[in-house]
Symmetry: C2
Subunit: 345 residues, 2 copies
Amino acid sequence: DTVFNENPHRRYNILTGEWVLVSPHRTKRPWQGKVEKPFIPLTATYDKSCYLCPTNTRMGGGQNPDYTTAYSFVNDFSALLSDTPSGSVDENLLQAKSERGLCKVVCFSPNHSLTLPLMEEQDIEAVISLWQKEYKELGELPYVNHVQIFENKGDTMGCSNPHPHGQIWAQESIPQEIAKKTKNLGDYWNKNKKSLLLSYIEQELKLKERIVIENEHFVALVPFWAIWPYETMIVPKRHLQNITLMTEVEKTDFAKTVKELTIKYDNLFSTSFPYSAGIHQAPTDQKNNDEWHFHMSFYPPLLRSATVKKFMVGYEMFADAQRDITAEQAAQSLRELGNVHYSKL
Amino acid sequence: DTVFNENPHRRYNILTGEWVLVSPHRTKRPWQGKVEKPFIPLTATYDKSCYLCPTNTRMGGGQNPDYTTAYSFVNDFSALLSDTPSGSVDENLLQAKSERGLCKVVCFSPNHSLTLPLMEEQDIEAVISLWQKEYKELGELPYVNHVQIFENKGDTMGCSNPHPHGQIWAQESIPQEIAKKTKNLGDYWNKNKKSLLLSYIEQELKLKERIVIENEHFVALVPFWAIWPYETMIVPKRHLQNITLMTEVEKTDFAKTVKELTIKYDNLFSTSFPYSAGIHQAPTDQKNNDEWHFHMSFYPPLLRSATVKKFMVGYEMFADAQRDITAEQAAQSLRELGNVHYSKL
Ligand SMILES: O=P(O)(O)O[C@H]1O[C@H](CO)[C@@H](O)[C@H](O)[C@H]1O
Ligand SMILES: O=P(O)(O)O[C@H]1O[C@H](CO)[C@@H](O)[C@H](O)[C@H]1O
């Protein structure tokens, strides 16, 4: 629809129930603002001052084993603690309650320089297996009702150690982003007895406008309502509530999709593409959660080049999310990029 | 309550209905991540290459008049346009609609280097008068139901021109942040026939723990549910739906409060403190909007120093907002800071 390729409009996010303002006519706006430092590729496989490398001493004093595959441990500076005393504040308009939980760090590889796009497929599978184990074990703790798996990649995204790693924050409450999605997935499920995301990817696979990668078991696409310039979402073609329900072949395809997508990201601006990625899946609150359909989202800040990012500031903080390039343009750029990492060409 | 000064907990935002995770025990976490470039103070009163300085040619080709006080014009790269053709997409799970609007730029002063904390009180009053005029005039346009006034200060906050200025985005739809607040202000109003924010500042003025500034007509405080490390909110002591309803003395006090608060911000880390600030007030949608109580919020990213900021990334994007220092600690630091700008000491 050319009206929407060229004119300001708002799009609706069926998962969160929120809207994003899209201004496609504004892509040619000049940029005189902040430029990020260009990324300098890492090459060392081991760094003796890195607190995530095998055998090194961590900031909290513990020592890493000589691990050879994906490895996790309790965060030395956890935002959530398992022994938090319970309590609440309920004084008129002041409302608060204690929160128990546990934070873990997941090292993707013993190799200090190996980001996901540079890892072998089977090593990414090992990361996914560890995510599955953690989701299950943390989810079984009596005080954990939700397990959030995520990665902050690159210092632009607040990552304080370049050794490739992700995090897991498990907690008592259902976080807001999950609550919104549970509501919308649930409404659709109750009405249609079908997964909302299943219906959505069926529609997208027919239109093909926003698909980036498709293989036997997974689809990676730029959602119609994407906020970040090159935001994407990896969705399994089967209605799976959480990542532990994948078959072995599905897990292989998931690893393949993650690798292919992150290679495309790196290739887009010939840099180690920064992003925050996260897996949204069913809460571990003992409820039925049939409506849930797990997906992994990537929120990357870069807009025009390796050094110019999109700022979610003033208007976005006070009013609505806003973007310039359309989801369709972003999907096309990503789709057309090669599957071989630029550093290997 | 010491339980909440030292232990992880969640706090409830009575305006948006959302929760923030607070981890007070984590303030001593070392930071090995990204540091921002230190700010170099501007000194030139005029910059011939600045497209906001008086008499200069703008990027869009127009020429600025030789303005001597706060001055506004239509943004040369507006995200919203007044002539957008109307239309909508409603194809199964894809929902979008056209959006009309208007974007303006507000130069605070003809002086290229004069940020709000460095301006004279009566010159800040001139900015407020211009905000009032714009809110009224834009709000009267038939296709404008909401007027968002905001400022992105500093390149860390995506500001692309150091000449002190703010923006106004006026539009057809009610943005989400406003819709949430309208709901919660409305629920309280319907139940108590009293402004929620009036009740809230009464409670805070008794407790005094989170107050930063108080004068005859305004309060500046760190809200109980603040997300950003040094987030604050300026609230009029009278129940005023929008900024045009202030008396002249109230306007003077508002200007005074803005100046004092932004001086404290600059003094905190001896830098030109970056932030996004915005005024939330009644929509201009011809509804009654009695429940509305205008307020100006400041969302500053700095956490520990002029160069170390808080990143709202992974967990915050996928789950809930999160902070380390408590609102009470932040309020105390700001309260204790002097009212004379550090550059003048
Ligand atoms: O309009 P500007 O100053 O060019 O741009 C800045 O403010 C806008 C409104 O908050 C944002 O959308 C942009 O990302 C930001 O860089
Ligand atoms: O835990 P890290 O890597 O030290 O910290 C990073 O991720 C956290 C979780 O998204 C954020 O709260 C921090 O602001 C960010 O710098």
